[in-house]
Amino acid sequence: MTADRIKKGEYAQIEGLEPSEFAVYLMEMGFMPGKRIRMLHQAPLAGPIAFKLENSIIALRKSEARAIRVFLEH
C-alpha cells in the first residue's frame, strides 16, 4: 500500500518510492526505504497528511504521499 492510506496514529515502514517527480524530493527529505513513519494528522476534505519521520513532522499532499510505498506495522 501507499502512505496516503495509513490511518491516524498507525506506524508504517517505508518499502520504497514510486518513480515520480516527487521521489527525489521525498528521498532528500529523508523518506528512505527502511524508515519508520507515523501518520499524525490529516486536514479535512482529504487535505495534507502530517507524518512523523525520525524527529520531524512533515506534511505531504495526498498525491505526494501516494509516491511512498509502505508496509503497515501491526
Partner: protein, 658 residues
C-alpha cells in the same frame, strides 16, 4: 587522516551560512550580525539575499545567509541559489568559507546537505545547533567521533540562549575552517543516478551516526504533539486560526492609528515649517506640496507594515505558520492557490505591499504569481476612508434588526474582496501555464517561544526594504501628479479665476476662506489634470461619473485615499479637508447642472464603491510588484486586468441601479 587547512586570508572574506529550514540559521545570523544586515535579491530570482557584517570582529567579514534547503541539487528556486553561490556561478557571492548548521536532533537529514557541501571541497565548519532540544529528547552526540568522521571543525551551540556564539566568532575571526575530503567518491566514468547517489549518501551517513549518536528513550510527551492536537483539529484548529486573525487585525488597527496620525501631523507640520522658511516660489511649492507629502505618504504605511511583519514573524518563529499552511492548503487548491498563499492574502487586508512581499515564501512559480496578482483585491486599509464616505452617501444609516445597514455594507465590501480573489485566481489557474508541478512537502517545526530580538530585527529590516524600494517610485510619481495638478495653460487658469467674484475689502475671514477654496477648485479645474479629467469624461460617463470624479480617479491612482482629499478640494469644502462629515454633506448636496439630479445618487455611489474595490489604484503596490517580479510585465498585466474588472463591474452596477 589527511587534514588540509585552508590558507588564512588577510583581506576581507565571505562566509556562507547553509542548513536545512528551521535549524536556527536565521537566529545565528541575527546573533552574529545584529542590525548590520542588508536584504537584497539574487540576480534574476526573488529569493531574499541576506548578508551582513559580523559584529565584534574587526576584520571585514561578510556573512551571507543562504536560503534553507534540504539539498544543493538544483531543483527548487532556493536550491538553485545555493548551488550557484557555492559553485561560484554567481561571481560576486562565491564564499571563501562555509558554515553549515545542523539541528542536533535531526542529524541524518542535516548531514545529507552538509556532506553534499563537503563534496564541493570548500573550506568549512559545522555547527551543531539546538543542543537543548536534542538533550531533552535523549540524544547524546559524541562530538569527537563525528569530528573524526567528517574532518571539519564542529561547534555545539544553542543559538537561542547565546550558547556557543563566542566559539563561532572565534572560529570565524581566526579562520579555523578546514577543507574536507570529498564525502562520496566520484565515479567519473559511470556516474550514479540522482536516486542512487541519495541512497549511497544516506547509507554512509547512517554508518557514521551509528558510531557517534545514541538516543535514550526519555518517554516524554512532547509539547508539540499536545499543541497540534488542538491547532490541527478539524474544528478547533480552524476556530483558533480565525481568532488569531481577528486578534491581529484588531491590534493592527488599534495600535497603528496613533503613530500614523503622528506621522501625518509631523509631515503636515514639516511642510508648513519649510514653507515659512524658504522664499516663496515654484521650488518651495514643489518641496512643500509635492516632495514632503510624497515622502509622508510612504512613511505613513510604516506602522502598519512593521506591526504586520512583527505578527507574521511571531507566527513564523513560533512554528504556527506552517500549521496554517497545513490547514488551508486543501481549501485553496481548487482556486489555483496554495496553503502558502494564506499569509500574503491575510497581510493584504492591512496593506497589499507586505502581502506581496510575503509571497516570497511560496516556492512554486505559478502559485506565487497568482497570489501576487490577486493580493491587491483584498480590501486594504487605504480603501476604508473611500468606503466610509461613499457608503455614507449610498446606504441609509438605519438598522436592520440588530445590525446597522452601513456596517453590513462595509463588511460586504470585505467579502467582495475575498470573492474577487478566489474568482480571479481561478481565471489565472486556467490562463497560466507551467511545467512545474505544484507540491507542498512542508516541514512543521516544533513549537518554540519566539525571541523578541529576532522579531524586532524582522520588523526593522522589512520596513526598511519597503521604504527604500517603493519609496523612490512613489516619490517620482507624486511629483509628476503634483506638477499636473498645479499647472495648466495660463490663459485658461486666468479665465477661470476671473470668473469668480472676489470678496470686497471689508469681507470677513469666512468669506475670504470661501473665496480661496473656490480659487483652489478653479485652479485644479483648469490644471493639466483637470483637462485630463474632462478628456476622460466620455469614457467614464457610462459608469455615472462626471469630469470631477474623473480627476479624482486620476489623482487617486497614486493612492486610493487621495480620492477623499481630491474630492474635497474639487467641491471646495474648505480648509477642513479631514472632516469626513463635512465632505459627505457637501457631496450629498452636489447637483448635476444638466439633469438637475444629485451627482452622488445611489447608482453613481455604488458604481464608485465597486470601482474602488477592484481598480489598481496604488503606486506603492505597482512598485512592489515590479520589484518582486523583476520587470514591468506583471505589474502591467495586473493594472490592465484590475482596471478592466473595475470598469466592467462599475458599469454593470450603474446600469442595473439606474
Amino acid at each position: 587522516m589527511l587534514e588540509v587547512t585552508a590558507p588564512v586570508k588577510t583581506t576581507a572574506f565571505t562566509v556562507a551560512l547553509i542548513g536545512n529550514p528551521n535549524v536556527g540559521k536565521t537566529t545565528i545570523f541575527n546573533r552574529l550580525t545584529g542590525l548590520r544586515q542588508k536584504v537584497g535579491n539574487y540576480a534574476g530570482v526573488t529569493v531574499d539575499k541576506r548578508s551582513g557584517k559580523v559584529q565584534y570582529i574587526p576584520e571585514k567579514v561578510t556573512l551571507v545567509d543562504l536560503p534553507g534547503t534540504y539539498s544543493i541539487h538544483p531543483n527548487t528556486e532556493n536550491e538553485i541559489i545555493v548551488h550557484r553561490v557555492l559553485n561560484g556561478l554567481d561571481k560576486q557571492s562565491k564564499p571563501d568559507y562555509v558554515l553549515a548548521i545542523l539541528d542536533m536532533s535531526n542529524l541524518e537529514r542535516g548531514l545529507f546537505l552538509v556532506t553534499q557541501v563537503m563534496d564541493l571541497g570548500l573550506p568549512m565548519a559545522v555547527i551543531l545547533n539546538m543542543e537543548d532540544t536534542a538533550k531533552s529528547q535523549g540524544f547524546v552526540v559524541k562530538t569527537h567521533q563525528l569530528y573524526k568522521a567528517l574532518g571539519v571543525p564542529l561547534i555545539e551551540t544553542n543559538a537561542r540562549s547565546d550558547k556557543g556564539m563566542e566559539q563561532i566568532e572565534g572560529l570565524i575571526s581566526q579562520q579555523l575552517f578546514e577543507t574536507p575530503k570529498p564525502f562520496l567518491a566520484r565515479d567519473e566514468f559511470n556516474p550514479p543516478t540522482q536516486r542512487e547517489e541519495i541512497q549511497q549518501r544516506y547509507e554512509k551517513i547512517r554508518e557514521i551516526l551509528e558510531h557517534s549518536v545514541e538516543q535514550k528513550d526519555l518517554k516524554t510527551k512532547a509539547l508539540t504533539d499536545r499543541l497540534d492536537k488542538i491547532f490541527l483539529h478539524k474544528t478547533w484548529g480552524y476556530l483558533f486560526f480565525l481568532s488569531i486573525l481577528l486578534l491581529i487585525f484588531q491590534a493592527i488597527y488599534a495600535w497603528s492609528t496613533v503613530p500614523m496620525d503622528l506621522i501625518d501631523g509631523f509631515f503636515a507640520a514639516l511642510s508648513g515649517w519649510v514653507y515659512q522658511l524658504l522664499p516663496p516660489g515654484v521650488l518651495t511649492d514643489l518641496i512643500t506640496e509635492g516632495i514632503i507629502p510624497g515622502i509622508g505618504g510612504i512613511l505613513i504605511f510604516i506602522p502598519q507594515i512593521a506591526l504586520l511583519f512583527g505578527f507574521l514573524a511571531i507566527l513564523e518563529d513560533s512554528g504556527y505558520m506552517s500549521r496554517v499552511v497545513f490547514l488551508m492548503d486543501r481549501l485553496m487548491r481548487p482556486f489555483g492557490l496554495n496553503g502558502k498563499s494564506m499569509v500574503p492574502l491575510i497581510s493584504s487586508v492591512a496593506c497589499a505591499i507586505p502581502g506581496i512581499m510575503a509571497a516570497r515564501n511560496i516556492g512554486n512559480w505559478k502559485d506565487r504569481i497568482t497570489t501576487i496578482m490577486v493580493a491587491p483585491l483584498m480590501s486594504c486599509s487605504a480603501r476604508l476612508p473611500v468606503y466610509v464616505i461613499l457608503i455614507g452617501l449610498a446606504v441609509p444609516d438605519e438598522n436592520l434588526g440588530p445590525f446597522n445597514l452601513q456596517a453590513i455594507a462595509l463588511l460586504g465590501m470585505y467579502l467582495l474582496g475575498v470573492v474577487a480573489v478566489l474568482l480571479v485566481s481561478l481565471a489565472f489557474k486556467w490562463i497560466l501555464k507551467t511545467t512545474e508541478k505544484s507540491y507542498l512537502m512542508l516541514e512543521m517545526p516544533l513549537y518554540r517561544l519566539p525571541r523578541l530580538k529576532d522579531i524586532l530585527i524582522a520588523m526593522y529590516s522589512k520596513s526598511r526594504t519597503f521604504v527604500l524600494a517603493a519609496g523612490k517610485i512613489i516619490l517620482a510619481i507624486s511629483v509628476v501628479l503634483w506638477v499636473l495638478a498645479s499647472y495648466g495653460p495660463p490663459s485658461r487658469l486666468e479665465a477661470a479665476i476671473n470668473n469668480l467674484e472676489a470678496p470686497d475689502a471689508n469681507a470677513g475671514p469666512e468669506e475670504i476662506a470661501a473665496y480661496e477654496s473656490l480659487v483652489a477648485s478653479a485652479e485644479l479645474e483648469s490644471s493639466y489634470i483637470g483637462i485630463m479629467g474632462k478628456f476622460i469624461e466620455p469614457v467614464i460617463k457610462p459608469l455615472g461619473y462626471d469630469w470631477k470624479i474623473g480627476i479624482a480617479l486620476i489623482t487617486s491612482f497614486a493612492a486610493r485615499e487621495v480620492f477623499v482629499s481630491t474630492i474635497a478640494t474639487l467641491y471646495s469644502v474648505g480648509a477642513d479637508v479631514e472632516d469626513e462629515l463635512t465632505i459627505k454633506q457637501k457631496l450629498d448636496q452636489e447637483i448635476n447642472p444638466v439633469t438637475g439630479e444629485k451627482v452622488f445618487n445611489i447608482p453613481t455611489s455604488f458604481s464608485l464603491i465597486v470601482f474602488y474595490a477592484f481598480a489598481m489604484q496604488c503606486m506603492s503596490t505597482l512598485a512592489i510588484v515590479y520589484r518582486e517580479t523583476n520587470g514591468w510585465k506583471w505589474p502591467l498585466i495586473q493594472t490592465a486586468y484590475m482596471t478592466a474588472l473595475a470598469y466592467v463591474s462599475a458599469w454593470a452596477v450603474f446600469q442595473l441601479l439606474s
